[in-house]
Symmetry: C2
Subunit: 497 residues, 2 copies
């Protein structure tokens, strides 16, 4: 295969063919990134922040923004309104990671003066080198070529080689071109951002001696394959794979009386973006005796529609996923058909007995698309027990009867053991980017549960610490010099300053 | 095999037999750790600090200290003076990690207040759960049962299950017993520290569903086997393996005139502890034309002796390692025999042409014991080239002609790309524990190059972040409550306070 073909999900019609990367070109692209790496690493973070701001400004240029939204909509069918908002978010994210770089805490600069026989030590985080970024299908802008992974890697001082997403190859190419121009104009070296396309090029990218880390957003199958490939290298590199999960929502006993409202919110959340969110709530755990699954089915019939999948494969997998859930003991209680033509997916809600939710059951596997499961618990002890059986997930929610609900703390604590983020009276979809965000979670939600792919701490994935012992000031990296030329927050003699 | 046998390295005579752990006992020990985990995690860090201080105080009790040093010397032959100092260090480390826990920055408490449509987010690091600790043979106290890994895991809020080291099974048992009594008296729950013994129990420990992380100090073979076992689990867990490396020392051209002194320091450093340091300088890179290898050979003949290996296996591997270096193109230039009897090792220095130091060459593999290699470079360009071929290492040194040496910065920068710590005019042996320490390094020096096994940041290995979204104050963990009951440093609205 020498080309990748782009399709309109609304019709299935072919839009364009994009050439995949030849092995020689891959070597050039990764080699250029490796050459850029020391230059990018040595650039003061405030200067790199300006590079990111330059990319953000170009994305917001009305002509470019209009073109990107049209291109993205043609290749993803996500709709103009959503894509306009997502593009604005993408630019804001670039500015946020720029501000985190400029603030400088991510460098962890720490100085212990010499004392007695103990030498002077200075510790700082240094960039790992070129990062391979495999963006998501479902957020072609905010988690794509110039999304969280790329922005945080550049902010941390690493060049990026993006693997173009086969679902939106034209958009990927255009986004990289915009970044290359903006970075060049802002003074970044050649190779700061590059791209390869094609399945084989993706594999070669992970195996490239020039690549120091991999960031991935997508399916468990894809993420685990890259993780394995990286572990099979002679020099193993870290893979930060954020993979899909069934994000559970627990309704407290007291909130059972609000189930009609909760059911409606659940439908809105699991059908958002045609259910193509990694934080989609895939499992509603409701108190028994309130007819939860039928309330959800009614809300689905009242308000939801199916929609188009991003790819033919996702549409087929969603249908197969429903069949798999049924085979594993779930029953369909509501189904709304998708639109006519293209890669249409119906919205489906199923119910299953709580006892069937056993570790390893297909009922606990993600079904990507507007599909969700409802299960009822008899009492909190049964729910507590269930929580010990659920696999790791990105996010969870607790729906309560309000601030005085006596069971909120218990369920927040139980769910926090499973996930990277737990929300109260809010749905798990929607991931703000800020200092306190955590987008990750226990295995198999991610391959690196101690890291986040969204929020200020996302930079930490792309650096490693080095300590300098009795190194003269002039030979120290700027972050550790006595004059603190980068104006960093530092810990000196154990005390933050 | 139902027993592990302890030997006197000075004679090879059997000292004692210690029973290995039965599978049922392993389940009990790990189950107890899992039960303790939520209690240890919920304990305020200042209270856990007192637990660690109680263990430190018991280690320093004169009767206990004397007994431990005698037991350690019998099983390791490291000598009383060294072991007295190591025990003092072990107690001081426990107090240091206690102070890091009490200070509270390791929790990374971060609060973003709600703003517009953005929800209130609070992010904090939560303990992973029980940690399996595989201590080192070469530092039976400071990197053993109650060494850096155990101290930092407890400080971070995780119970510890230690795998007893087969080279010092009696010492391991005694250390665990001391800790169990001290922790019990200090109010820690049963299961806060436990131990298993035996090769099979070690494997089962890594596979146990109750174990959440593994910390290891030792050989590459051992570390990589545990890493692979953890990656083969249904739920993969992190392995923090600190493994042996060839730690390079580069002498600047101007420092060539000080080579006689440098040669003598090199011999002292690579024969320290009979060469059984993971930070042993295994490779001296010296300017050509100064007779570096012969100066080292002379210093060896003048001052060094061989010594006893910790185990029969280490003694045999050191001899085999010298043969392997010779087979790979090195020549022996100096050799001092070890003592008579027991697990004696000679001290050996070899030389090899710089061009023979190619990636993958056995010349770049660690030979554990008092064995080192000298190679000469013609000019700095050749040395720079070599540095790109060396594998990742824990530490490196640059020996300079003083503060005005023009090449210090160039070599510090070149070596810092390879290692976790680079020292100037000091030898890599000796790892201070403090805020700014980094003991780790690029693959294959460690399986987790973004972490450290010594220093304040060592706690970070045993926690993961969780974000709480719109969670009412009473349902938040104490670290994020409005009243800040643990008195933590926190980042609020992006600003450290």
């Amino acid at each position: 295969m020498t080309v990748e073909t782009s399709h309109d999900p609304r019709t299935g019609v072919r839009l364009a063919s994009v050439e995949v990367t030849h092995p020689n070109t891959l070597c050039e692209v990764t080699g250029l990134a490796a050459q850029a790496a020391p230059v990018v690493a040595a650039t003061p973070p405030r200067e790199r922040a300006r590079w990111l701001e330059a990319v953000a400004a170009d994305l917001e240029h009305p002509r470019i923004a209009g073109e990107l939204v049209a291109l993205a909509d043609a290749e993803t069918a996500l709709g103009e309104a959503r894509l306009v908002a997502e593009l604005a978010r993408t630019a804001a994210q670039l500015r946020f990671y720029a501000s985190v770089a400029a603030e400088g805490s991510y460098l962890g600069a720490t100085l212990d003066p010499a004392s007695g026989t103990t030498p002077a030590l200075g510790r700082v985080h240094v960039p790992l080198g070129p990062v391979a970024v495999f963006g998501a299908s479902n957020f072609p802008l905010a988690f794509g070529v110039l999304g969280n992974d790329t922005a945080s890697a550049l902010a941390a001082g690493c060049p990026v080689v993006v693997k173009a997403h086969p679902a939106h190859p034209q958009l990927s190419r255009r986004l990289v071109d915009i970044a290359v121009w903006a970075l060049c104009a802002a003074g970044a070296p050649d190779g700061t951002v590059g791209m390869v396309a094609g399945f084989e090029a993706g594999g070669a990218l992970v195996r490239s001696e020039h690549v120091s880390a991999v960031a991935f957003t997508g399916s468990q199958r894809g993420g685990l394959a890259l993780w394995q490939a990286a572990n099979d290298r002679p020099v193993v590199i870290p893979v930060f794979a954020e993979m899909g999960t069934v994000n559970p929502v627990a309704v407290t006993p007291a909130a059972g009386r609000d189930l009609p409202t909760i059911a409606s919110g659940f439908v809105d959340s699991f059908t958002l973006g045609t259910g193509q969110y990694c934080t989609k709530p895939g499992l509603l755990l409701a108190p028994a005796g309130r007819g939860a699954s039928h309330l959800v089915a009614r809300a689905l019939a009242d308000s939801a529609t199916g929609g188009w999948a991003l790819t033919e494969g996702i549409a087929a997998a969603a249908l197969a996923g429903v069949d798999q859930l049924v085979a594993a003991g779930a029953s369909v209680v509501g189904r709304v058909p998708g639109p006519t033509g293209g890669w249409s997916m119906p919205a489906v809600v199923l119910e299953a007995p709580l006892a069937a939710l056993r570790a390893g059951s297909p009922l606990l596997e993600e079904c990507f698309g507007p599909v969700a499961l409802v299960a009822e618990y008899d009492d909190l002890a049964e729910l507590d027990q269930l929580l010990t059986r659920l696999p790791g997930a990105l996010a969870a929610s607790v729906m309560t009867a309000g601030p005085d609900d006596p069971d909120t703390g218990r369920l927040v604590a139980g769910l926090s053991r499973l996930v990277g983020r737990v929300a109260v009276d809010q749905w798990p979809t929607g991931v703000a980017f800020s200092w306190a965000q955590q987008h990750g979670g226990p295995w198999p939600a991610t391959s690196a549960p101690q890291t986040t792919s969204v929020g200020a701490a996302a930079l930490g994935r792309f650096v490693r610490p080095v300590t300098y012992q009795q190194v003269p000031d002039a030979a120290l990296p700027p972050a550790l010099r006595a004059a603190n030329p980068w104006g960093l927050p530092r810990r000196v003699g154990g005390v933050l300053s």
